[in-house]
Subunit: 223 residues, 2 copies
DNA sequence: CGAGACACGTGACGC
DNA sequence: TGCGTCACGTGTCTC
């Protein structure tokens, strides 16, 4: 009688995440509810209990759908925990807040630079060390045949493409083929690298630290 | 025996939201757990059951704290429903996404607006003296709809990709979308640029001179 | 009174 | 083996 719970187990922990709509297999609830209410001979009470059960079920279902929707709008989600999903969402919102401030500062700088008649000064101040790389997603996958694919998405800022290339150039990897494409304010870089499966995680760490070090040269991130 | 639930009721629906930390009034859990387990005579089983109970309690508590924290980073929250909190968070994140796109478009416009009058050398220190860019093919084509496509092939050397990006970055073009792919010692860069047909030839000259200037900064190639 | 929202204890499942 | 996570049914409160 607990098999319904089992289905939901699969909902959370296996790979059927892409059809969150069609697990509406609750049609036999009414029949079951009568079975549970063996202590109360009153029909009205059992009806109320079943109502409560199905209502609660719908509430939980709605909540899970909401949670799943929240997960879908937050990039870079690692763990599928309910708590982790909410935590990642919080971190992401705070990240967006910081990013908004950064971008607005950049806009202010650009505007104030336009006001002045000195384009040289403007460009130097903007180019020097502003607009860090904002990584939106970083995915490192082992594809077999000793090849690892790195897929990186970030927002397009000033010199972002240059810095991105510098990062991968500095890591001295065995790059098979690389590709950068830019669209609608985004930058997507895909790199095929010759490496074993064990080097995958290490590679991801390396890339992250390299980008972090480039964004903030002051901190001694070099392990 | 259900008074604990009552406290939590107040936690959600009254005004004690500001002390989400100090409702640690679960100290008598162990004593109660033994009471609940009246069906199992085994002491070890009751211990396990109580462990599960307190663990589950902590899990729920953590989840509620997370949800509360999520609520605190999302402005303009009207309803206190769990589902509504998550929904508002989703809407807020999507709102931030749209806003980010708008602002980035604004930045792009601002940057391309600066490009108008800037005869001075942009990057005075590109440095890197070795391995010049060896252009194998440069094709500039007008595609209609005010778009010009630049297709450039060169041999892959050290930092070639970086330099290539720098070149196009320094020209301050209205780039619609760009793409670099590397294969078998070659580098192919494709750039879609917003420009009229008349600017086509001028564009080709600009790119050639920029690359030449980068390869040999000593010669006064700057128009 | 019912409808909705919540916390609780419980059994099950995976690591 | 425990430990963490989950969905479930239930009792209780508020509107």
């Amino acid at each position: 009688m607990e098999n319904i719970g089992d289905e939901y187990k699969n909902y959370w922990e296996t790979n059927m995440f892409l059809q969150t709509q069609e697990l509406d297999s609750w049609g036999l609830d009414e029949a079951l509810s009568g079975y549970y209410d063996s202590s109360s001979p009153d029909g009205a009470a059992s009806s109320a209990a079943s109502k409560n059960i199905v209502s609660e079920r719908n509430r939980r279902k709605k909540l899970n759908e909401r949670l799943f929707a929240l997960r879908s709008v937050v990039p870079n989600i690692s763990k599928m925990d309910k708590a982790s999903i909410i935590k990642d969402a919080i971190d992401y919102i705070q990240h967006l807040h910081e990013q908004e401030k950064t971008i607005q500062a950049e806009i202010m700088e650009l505007e104030s630079g336009v006001m002045k008649k000195n384009p040289k000064q403007l460009h130097d101040s903007v180019t020097s060390r502003n607009s860090p790389i904002e990584v939106l997603e970083l995915r490192v996958t082992y594809m077999g045949e000793k090849t690892v694919v790195v897929s990186l998405t970030c927002s397009k800022r000033t010199d972002t493409m240059v810095k991105l290339c510098e990062v991968f150039e500095s890591l001295k990897l065995k790059i098979i083929t690389a590709n950068i494409t830019s669209f609608s304010g985004r930058l997507l870089k895909t790199v095929f690298i010759e490496a074993n499966e064990e080097e995958k995680d290490d590679l991801q760490i390396k890339i992250q630290t390299a980008i972090a070090a480039l964004n903030d040269p002051l901190s001694p991130m070099s392990i």
